[in-house]
Assembly symmetry: C2
Homo-oligomer: 178 residues x 2
């Protein structure tokens, strides 16, 4: 991503945090991760992340999504004997999140996915999270999510995060992260 686009995404995500009344430090705002996942379409695909803590036992992040921005389908497989794959809880703090997991597909899903990306979204069981709602995913569960029309802020509580082990359904995606 171009530095200008990264700065623009950070400013937009910061505005959403302010709307959500979530305080972050200037340093956290500065080091926010803008993850376009190598797809070059941050307005629609990817997400913004502030990692509050990631240690050998647990992890906590704030995920920020622009209106209708989509985090593409992926899973967190077994890493090694100590880490059987990331388990994670999404708790909606602001806006609305349409979360998709394996199961009975929604007949009329609320997410709107551009045609060219649809083939990489294979699970369609819909879970709608509004402020105060949360959902916990077991390790290795395929999932993807899209924010509603206002965007969204989601707290992620999880076991240790090792983003480089994530497996995305779209083979073009390269997760560049910590």
């Amino acid at each position: 991503m171009k530095p200008k686009d990264i700065e623009q995404a950070k400013a937009r995500a910061s505005a959403l945090l302010r709307k959500a009344r979530i305080a972050v430090t200037p340093e956290e705002r500065e080091t926010m991760e803008v993850a376009d996942l190598g797809l070059g379409d941050i307005k629609n695909l990817g997400l913004e992340v502030i990692v509050y803590e990631n240690n050998d036992r647990y992890c906590a992040k704030e995920l920020i999504l622009f209106p209708r921005q989509t985090c593409p389908e992926h899973r967190h497989p077994r890493v090694d004997d100590r880490n059987p794959g990331k388990k994670e809880t999404f708790r909606c703090r602001y806006g609305e999140i349409f979360l998709y997991v394996a199961g009975e597909p929604a007949p009329r899903p609320k997410a709107r996915v551009p045609k060219k990306h649809r083939e990489f979204m294979t699970v369609w069981h819909e879970i709608i999270l509004r402020p105060g709602d949360q959902y916990t995913l077991p390790p290795n569960a395929l999932h993807w999510f899209q924010a509603g029309d206002k965007g969204a802020v989601v707290s992620e509580f999880s076991s240790t995060s090792t983003d480089e082990n994530d497996v995305f359904t779209d083979p073009r995606i390269r997760r560049v992260g910590k």
Copy 2:
């Protein structure tokens, strides 16, 4: 505690959550833990807790403290081979928290502790947390904390929580929890 006092504490904590703009479900409000720690002085000693998630790998809670309410000194010792003691991160979301840990004592600590409880507060190195600030405690570290004049809401991210293993400095305290 009397049911009436528990309900009153829940209502007061819920009002603080509303001020902090933190959404919780009606069920979470209902099942909120009001922990007076057996001391019968909830207005000054103890805290209110909503457990968002507590599984075999991580835990996330929202801690709510009334103005000047104090969580008494305690530590989280080794539980067994799988759990070397709870590690935890406190992130202030609203108000102000005066956190005390081992180290150089504050010459003029901001917390105000009633005389009769002071003997059970043995660590006085002061860390002040305002919205957006956080601090991570290693397992078994003695700590206690008090909210400032507006009360406080603090997100706790941690390894698995087993409250029954907590060791309090005040021998009268009995942690009744999950």
